[in-house]
Symmetry: C2
Amino acid sequence: MPIPLSPLAPRSYPELPAIAGVRLAVADAGIRYKDRTDVLLVELAEGTSAAGVFTRSLTASAPVLACREALASGKARALVVNSGNSNAFTGSVGIKSVAHVVDKACALFGCKASEVYTASTGVIGERLPDDKITGILGEMAKSLSENAWQQAARAIMTTDTYPKMATRTASIGGVTVTLNGIAKGSGMIAPDMATMLAFVFTDAHIPASALQQMLSETNATTFNCVTVDGDTSTSDTLLLFATGKAKNPAGDYADFKRALHEVLHELALHVVKDGEGAEKLVAITVAGADSDKAARTIGMSIANSPLVKTALAASDANWGRIVMAVGKAGEKADRDKLMIKIGGVMIAKNGEADPAYREAQIAPHMQGRDIKIEVDVGIGAGKATVYTCDLTHAYIDINGSYRT
Amino acid sequence: MPIPLSPLAPRSYPELPAIAGVRLAVADAGIRYKDRTDVLLVELAEGTSAAGVFTRSLTASAPVLACREALASGKARALVVNSGNSNAFTGSVGIKSVAHVVDKACALFGCKASEVYTASTGVIGERLPDDKITGILGEMAKSLSENAWQQAARAIMTTDTYPKMATRTASIGGVTVTLNGIAKGSGMIAPDMATMLAFVFTDAHIPASALQQMLSETNATTFNCVTVDGDTSTSDTLLLFATGKAKNPAGDYADFKRALHEVLHELALHVVKDGEGAEKLVAITVAGADSDKAARTIGMSIANSPLVKTALAASDANWGRIVMAVGKAGEKADRDKLMIKIGGVMIAKNGEADPAYREAQIAPHMQGRDIKIEVDVGIGAGKATVYTCDLTHAYIDINGSYRT
């Protein structure tokens, strides 16, 4: 079944500039899809440092387990990604498949296994035909290019309807560095560490430990604050590679962290905008909670509620369902101080509907593509913003036919 | 929008016998629905003891708050239920609405406010037109009957497509007692104490404390083990009334508890079978968990996964999504010992697909109405069975138009 382009897709894609020390190649290995690319190979210059966050799923995929091990080195020379098969729940055979791919990359680039990262996305529980990947890596290594960013973003797609890219620059000690990021969605999205797959590359020179700390912190307020369907993937992987080619001095990374947050935020929003069947992007801000963590929990309770999401799909301002979702979240909330706004319009306050509120006030907002929901639970100073999409018939269609 | 009868509806409804000390009446108060009954009045004989469990939602409705208070008395003389408006998130006005209804019932039956219970189900956040109820209670009291059970079950329906009833007998000290139960669903179903509304009546003579203990225990493995959409209602109410008219001696309530469990189990399954848009009833048994509680959490993670539920709607044995749902549940599971069966057929064991498994083996089972999923997570002896339904286009249709 062809999936139509998301109505929330951007009008144009950003041009991602070359990043010194990063070369990319894509190929069609025929893992599952026909007539499209499904393997991405990235060569990283010697001296590249690495950071990563992964799914907290207890049934994490073989590539996730292998990446966690490799990351102990803090170094990277290559990344191999395939779509169409997630190599999850594939037992010892799955572990061996990763090793075959890693070994091949080591031979091509003359590096150690601890410097090679792999990621796989697609169907769970089927053996990865790793020979299809190892068989073409040699050819791919000959076609590596500094400019294949959009091709790379396309090769890692599954049910995504558009490639997801973001780029920023930042200054470290007076030296300008560049960050490029690519990501994929678009179902099984409720990142518990990172979205299914996202990769960020920079020419900045930053040690792995500092890189890891910044990645973990920015991930918490970006990928970990979006949801499509509340289903956490077995394959969530977010990797950040810094080649060091910009030769910036060590020092204050505040501006780099700002740029990193912007790249991750932009990619995370793309994942929601291209959520399976999505027709609306919904931003939910929760304030007045016991803590930021509690605010995120309440926000996610609203964002994952099928009743809230089906009402949004129908452009129905059924705010009683927001009350329900606050109530079931399990975090402290003062029912008699609860405040709800949609599209900036006060709907409920002090535990009941605002007498001045008329549904016609927000009808135009509900019909739009960008929905803003604000909730204050009247307990403390905790705050969080989470993003989700609506639940439409297309979600059911896409997920009833995913394997056929 | 008329909602078609659930394909999982029973071929016929049970005939509920009269229960000494219980009389019922229904009426059309025009609260929201047109041309159907929406109020139920139940008169309970003097000496009736009561037990109840309610939603744990922090935004519980006004009737739930009032029932919790009344239950301290352990006694009951009347129950008033309305559909069409849940009187939830209605502030101090909502509390007053309950008081008006309770006062009217007290006047009719010459009882105390602590002996009157009310329940409301329907739209959240709109003021209950309590005068419509108080205005007809007097007339209703004149038409009370021992035999209006099916009418009672119909009057409390919202998006339900059929009335839900169950009856059993039990023996206490050689005396036969009868239990009748009615319930309603059918969306916002993820009971955290009880389903939206369920009422059980018996002529047994049992003190309130023993009644409460049995109700809490049997509720935990019946209503608290079903889910339609993971959205916990603000109105969940399960009440059990014992008139004492059977004049059984005090003593061993084991057989009564068995019958009570059967009534609650049957009603809970009806709630799932009539879940919004449901086309399949799905039983999920989780074994080998760290505890029974952990097994229930894992079962609910599977039962609430939109990816699992959309695959089921498409009769697709996409068991990789079961792996995902086990992984995201947050409870201990040994990925390398994980076992999955569907329809009794072994699909996965020891952390990977069973080589002998062929999808054709379970295709007929997947096409059926009754789906059985068994999972063993290989950690301990914890076990639980939970019930859910599939996620179909009708769920989206029903919930996009609920208020219109």
